[in-house]
Amino acid sequence: MSHSVRAAPPVPASPEQPVRPRSSIGNRLLVRPEVGALVAALVIFVFFLAAAPAFRSAESFFTVLYQASTIGIVAVGVGLLMIGGEFDLSAGVITTSAGLVSSMFCWWFGVNLWIGALLSLIFCLFVGFVNGWLVMRTGIPSFLITLGTFFVLQGANLGVTKLVTGSVTSPDISGIDGYDSLGAIFSSSFKAGPVTVWITVIWWVLFVAVATWILTRARVGNWVYAVGGAPDSARAVGVPVVRTKIGLFMAVSFLGWFVGMHTLFRFNTLQAGNGVGNEFLYIIAAVVGGTLLTGGFGNAAGVAIGAFIFGMTNLGIVYAGWDPNWFKAFLGVMLLLAVLVNLYIKKMATARRTA
């Protein structure tokens, strides 16, 4: 969003055109979508610094960033999609589908992994297209359409893997051509002083930057907010609503493919049942980051902070030596708080500010 906190030039007063008082900077900060998440992130950060001694190192900070990036990359897409007014429940399981398509194709036919990665990309974009096309064509809520895709992919992941390999684990790809070059792109890490930086963190920052640019500065960003906020009005002024929404579904499946490739090249083999449940983590990251469930409001930085909170608590609980099972309960509380804060912010944002 492009709210700016600098003062606009003073409005010349004239008797016929009353000058209205400007809203305070505090008020204007409040209506920025990511402010709530930023405050929460700081509180949680300080909390774990105090509670978990192991948390207090640069090393563990970068581990948190890595953890956050594996959720955050797809969450960027899910956030954009939610700003555009739609959901994608198949976003978690498609990461596994992406890896399985790639690894099993290359293993079965004995071809270079680059071909598998490309094929998998086409497959994922196609799934995204079908999601978007069905939603726009039928008018059925995306929640239901993508719930369908979610189950189709989940079943197919297990079924096809069993047919091909005889088990629910995909074959090891580390001996196939192209492993090293693709591994460098998707799943390498390097040392920077004492810390290990995973390349997904770099990619995550890049994707967040691109999404921010699109939302704030690109023409299509204007359309994303419009199709989420008031699709009928958007159509009436000539915004290509159908193309914009289908594009958003495809962006989510592209990022799902990206994380799928990372998981594949990190572990060389995949469990066909994995990925289920991650779709909710993406949605939680987006909502905690200030994205409105009903569309039309949010930004990429907020979603990134939401993912960072996820990474922090996920590891913080372990570092503090607590039972990790509490993690889910914590996420639930965060989600509920975020929804309440968002509701309040939306009210603030649309409350009449006329004197």
Partner: protein
């Protein structure tokens, strides 16, 4: 200067005649008010001018040459813009984004072209603010969500937008119908501002008081035909009000009720 001239224009939907033999002219710098009860044919008249339905008889000329519009786009290309009651704004988006929605100013070179092209945000904000000021609308902040404006102000932004994107004829469909007294006043001021800017305004309403405040010419429709067609000099507010309230029918009714 006559922008639109309609003579003997009619429209039938199958066997039903929704509008017959209506004559009307829209002049630059004047407000033509079209009044009428529900079902009087106001909407049909707008639809002919804004290009949603072509007329079935009579002649409509735009800038002196006969015209029949096949789509709203054709009407827009001739400078005829319609602001409907539902405002076509997105409440959570900033005022400047709404102002340019669907017609963003872009500066893009490949590969950042087309839908990915960057917007000229500074220009867009400046122009939106300038155009709104021309209409006398001063917003706190061009970056505030348009949902924070009142219904009347939003209507005015829609008008300013139509003016900026080249409208010469502005058709306003019941702009004050959903508004309170104070907000209606705001909208009427901007109707007058559009008129003073040299636009031909067609103001559709069922409120004779609002019409009389800004109108230069009045047409009252009843059952698809014009029952009154007079310039301001020849008509009084009482006459408009009586006609709108039912005119002779009302007199008859009052006689029958005998109180």
């Amino acid at each position: 200067m006559t922008l639109i001239e309609m003579s003997g224009v009619g429209k039938s939907y199958g066997a039903v005649s929704a509008l017959h033999d209506v004559s009307l002219s829209v002049h630059a710098g004047e407000v033509t008010c079209v009044l009428g009860d529900n079902g009087a044919g106001k909407s049909t008249l707008i639809k002919i001018m804004s290009g949603l339905h072509p007329h079935s008889c009579g002649v409509m000329t735009v800038d002196g040459s006969p015209a029949t519009f096949a789509s709203p786009r054709e009407a827009l290309d001739r400078g005829i813009a319609t602001v409907y009651q539902d405002l076509a704004v997105v409440p959570l988006m900033e005022v400047w984004r709404n102002f340019f929605l669907g017609a963003e100013l872009t500066a893009g070179t490949f590969p950042l072209s087309g839908f990915l092209s960057g917007m000229k945000i500074k220009d867009m904000k400046r122009i939106a603010d300038e155009e709104l000021r021309k209409m006398g609308i001063i917003v706190n902040d061009i970056n505030q969500p348009i949902g924070t404006l009142s219904g009347g102000q939003r209507q005015c932004v829609a008008i300013a937008r139509a003016v900026y994107f080249g409208a010469r004829v502005l058709i306003l469909d019941e702009p004050t119908a959903a508004l309170g007294v104070k907000q209606s006043g705001v909208v009427l001021k901007y109707v007058a501002a559009a008129r003073d800017a040299g636009l031909g305004v067609v103001f559709i309403t069922h409120n004779p008081h609002h019409a009389y405040l800004v109108g230069d010419h009045f047409i009252i429709l009843k059952l698809g035909a014009a029952v009154l067609d007079k310039p301001r000099a020849e008509v009084t507010l009482d006459e408009l009000t009586t006609q709108m309230a039912g005119g002779e029918e009302l007199a008859e009714l009052s006689h029958e009720l005998g109180r």
